[in-house]
Symmetry: D2
Subunit: 364 residues, 4 copies
């Protein structure tokens, strides 16, 4: 269960690391949107392994196929199925350790929950599952773009190395300028050096991804459980390796006094604005028209090339020595995932708000 | 929309700050559970205003009524409706400022979204909405307790004042020993002093609530979007004033190397355990049998008794001067809310896992 | 579980025959709709017992209260809770037979499913549960009326006594002209005589209710599982005592050849019309702009004042002799229930289609 | 929207008649169930066109692929994706009439709803969509069989030709003995003759499919909106060409008196039974342990090889003359669809009841 996300723009992902492949069904995409495989492939290429020396060398080309839901290059309004076949199914890498529970991986919990698991590459817990999210997110981004909404995410910190970025000025070009996807060039350089060093040590490193959504209209989100920040939090905390979520001023803001933290309102060009944006673009669960600002913390990758103590399926103490490919830092590849999840949440709430406004006579 | 939460143990809250009252419908509560009004009232009393000088003096007795779903003191398996009538509807407090958007409140976004709002005490955005959650959470706690699961939350930081607490040893008695609900007595004293000072200045202060769930069996949670930490994040970020969520090592863990962060497995009494618990009791979205540890950051209360700049419904610049009662620190009252939300998530996932195990032949 | 209905206009009912009362929460009602208690009460009065000698004499006044979700006479866009307290809780009527399973009632299945049941008046299986549906349906009707959609239901057959009615010409006035709610005056007279006779014999009688929705725009409904007729079928078959559902030509149409059954298209006033309406206003699950026609079959009421063989909770053969009040024919009171359920389905699909059109650029 | 069905055993279908193909994602299938492609293919072969001269000659082999969710021949508990590629995409058949709305098809309503449609073979409204349902139903049947539940459907009437069948004695062998899938051999012969005659006339014919579920335990189903018969009704009325649904005594029962219709209880082998089964195995929405009996009415196929009047997309009157292949009677191929939908409903409710019982301490 739990492989679906969204209410009106609803996706269901499927697939494991090894086996036929992975993919997604999108139910609720509006009709008549121009959609080509390039729209999807571009985002998948940002996510796929092997795109730079910073990431795992698993050689998946991740070629997507739009299987259903389009006709003569446009969406039909019916379910869009997109899939990617697995290629580099080097299961033999996993064979020697197949009955050992890898520390901080999902091997043990899957085995305990289901009484069965695919020990090949993590099965459903593999980051390959996010291919479906990124593919669906590409469509959501197109819909949002048509409504003037842009989403950018970037690596804002690797271990202790932060950066200096104005969220409202960041560009995709600057983000994509380096393989680490930090738009602050100096910081990016230092981050790359650190990741290479950590990789050479067979170790891994974590950090944060920041995300901004610009052009979001006032009114997206719901008052109670489906608050915009609640749905964003769920979206981000459902990504592999995420450990923390912040909206607006986040944890830092909890150190302030109310008199320091409140965002005063003023008028600008006939529009209600806030002087500061500690709310992160959301008040009472509903977007207020300011940029939506969020941050996601990712732990260091669990796969390391060092000996670790563990146990196997029989309950025997075992030493685990992973070999071969590993991804020393999930952050650069997490950037398109964070963008995709943000896009999915905003697209869903955009459709919900369109429904509400239409039903209320168009004047809400 | 968005007033429902949970899949098998599903609640729907209703009500505003002023008007008839607030409440909740719980659909999916198992039958034959002993349930008395005292079970509910006890938790509501921990949440209600006026319980100490640290909180708002709004004098609501918050007397709950179980309207449906029980018979001769036990649950029927049919929807349980619990409601609390509003009493202290001192709407006149809000009259003078009724058309001014209070900074960092939901006045503006509600008005923009709906084209109408109850200006009396925040309407649906009032923390009174959480009465329904706390009432439902009281039932969830009973169910969890019958399965050996206990949940404790406490104030772990007020502004810059932290505390020293062993999450696995904390008791409800220690938490309830002081009105600030911090089980570290020395820290509690300092926190109380700070809150009183801030109150006297007409200002407010934020901080963090920590929460632990003990006795959680292995296997709760789902692999992808309904990861346990994702549902917990949504639950907590749907609480008024929450700005940040962390599971396990949280943001701090993102500064570590993988070799420092991984939780090694070992056997203890025939059971798989982890030496450390940076995972916070959840791996791959599924509980691993260790204590579940989470943290929620709450911003300083938006209502302060100081002049603030704002605008009104007509788009005119206005100075807002709030008067009367205010809650200088939401944290002590947030403790039962955090417990309730954690209980609702765990109870729902417990039922889901019971379904899975039963369907798989009882051996999963 | 299963006490909720609808996707965007979503209701949750609660309550039992005896106990606090019954009611409904409506989540997703558009904001700014004028709503008074009279809007609700009018429909409840059509549903309540004791309104004529044809129905049960249980003396419930069924006074509704709008508990939340409105402000100054208009909807807020937040959950509307409406409730009716139980009054005539003559539980003693049920005491003598409390451990006997009444034939064709839900006593046995509830007991088997839950291991507990309220033996007072059927508990949750009582038709009193439909109060919440009718109350919510009253609001749905208001929304539909604002979009030019009208719904009428009437008793079309009692046992073997049918009637002659043109569905497109039927009026509420004609329906309400007699207590049997059949707009064909002659047929109504015969039906009333039959029901009175059956009542005097301590027996009961079934029949059919027909329903038409006029003014439904083209495009409501979804292609696959949420076909308009599928949702209508579920809605109607969820009513107490319903045994059959037909759309358009229904069972009769299955005797025809395709060449006799197909609805040919033609143009009228620039609009696509069908010459015949065997489709019942729905093609491929989606409304085609013609009147929506459906029929619901209701079995004879299970409660009869005659001795019946049965067993009790202990598995002992027992003779059941019901006494006191009984409803010899559910049909007249089912009319507002059928209208309410039809309104709920159409209102939900109207909001869904508004969302789709808005998202597709308003031109769908 | 609306391409998903079920709550715990949840399927999502995708695909159109022409394009990549069709398929299904099943989320919530229990783990460790043995599953081979033969389990699926067997049911698909019963559904596919060209299996006998009674059905359309469209030559699809409908070879299924299990793309995800299994490992070493057993289910993983993660989403199972099954797909069938389209082969016989003879779109040219549809080219000449591509802008004409075929009477009683979904061409007009799809065009009106979406502003776009695949005119090739009906697109999403094609009966090919049911491939995903039948594939998922095959898995549901396996799960049900392991719990002692068997489902049989058969053609019970073609036009005016009925049959004599004891639902509790019917076998798959008897059903599959003739291409018309009526287990009454004499009736089958007559039905085949009629269908062949109608086919030779370029016309089509409707009728009914009956379905029985044997071995269903007491307690499946929910009291209010998710009544077992309500979910079954929605399931059946979501099948292409269905016009009517009956449970138990159905429409016929509505002509009886309560004293004739009620099912008296008695004890047999320590178990509560009913003397008659006019309830059709469901009381108050919940299964009572007796055979579940339902009937679905299907209209005559809309595609006929005769000239019909219609209009085109431009609103011009046009004569439609369909040529080539057509299915003169949908009923034989509807049999596996009805079985699949019944299996999906019962499997979902079985898992729900397992959850309820487990949560209530196993004694419910």
């Amino acid at each position: 269960m739990g492989s679906s996300f969204g209410k009106l723009f609803r996706i269901t992902t499927f697939g494991e690391s090894h086996g036929g492949g992975v993919g997604v069904v999108i139910d609720g995409c509006p009709p008549r949107i121009e959609l080509s495989i390039q729209d999807i492939q571009h985002e998948l290429d940002r996510r796929r392994p092997g795109q730079s020396k910073l990431t795992t060398q698993r050689a998946e080309s991740d070629r997507a196929e739009i299987f259903s839901g389009t006709f003569e290059g446009r969406t039909l309004g019916t379910p869009i199925m997109i899939m990617v076949r697995n290629e580099d199914a080097r299961a033999s890498d996993y064979e020697p350790n197949k009955d050992i529970f890898r520390p901080s991986h999902a091997d043990y919990t899957y085995q305990a929950k289901y009484g069965i698991r695919s020990w090949k590459g993590g099965g459903r817990s593999s980051a390959r599952e996010t291919i479906g999210r990124v593919a669906a997110g590409a469509i959501a981004k197109k819909i949002l773009a048509a409504h003037g909404i842009a989403i950018h995410a970037w690596v804002s910190r690797v271990a202790d190395l932060g950066c200096t970025v104005d969220p409202t000025q960041v560009t995709q070009q600057a983000i994509e300028a380096t393989p680490v996807r930090c738009p602050d060039a100096d910081a990016a350089k230092a981050m790359i050096a650190l990741i290479e060093k950590v990789k050479s040590e067979g170790d891994s490193v974590g950090g944060t991804v920041d995300c901004v959504a610009l052009g979001v209209p006032v009114g997206l989100g719901e008052p109670v459980f489906d608050k915009l920040e609640a749905d964003l939090a769920r979206a981000m905390m459902s990504l592999p390796a995420s450990k923390a979520f912040e909206i607006g001023s986040g944890m830092e803001g909890t150190h302030l006094r109310g008199s320091e933290h409140n965002d005063e309102f003023y008028m600008e060009d006939g529009r209600v604005r806030t002087r500061t944006n500690r709310s992160g673009g959301v008040q009472g669960g509903i977007s207020n028209g300011e940029p939506i600002l969020l941050r996601v913390g990712f732990k260091p990758t669990a796969t390391i090339l060092r000996a670790q103590n563990s146990v196997d399926e029989q309950g025997t103490a075992r030493e685990l020595q992973s070999r071969g490919r590993h991804d020393p830092c999930v952050l650069p590849r997490a950037v398109p995932m964070v963008e995709a999840m943000a896009a999915l949440v905003l697209c869903d709430h955009l459709l919900r708000q369109i429904a509400l406004k239409g039903a209320a006579g168009g004047t809400a």
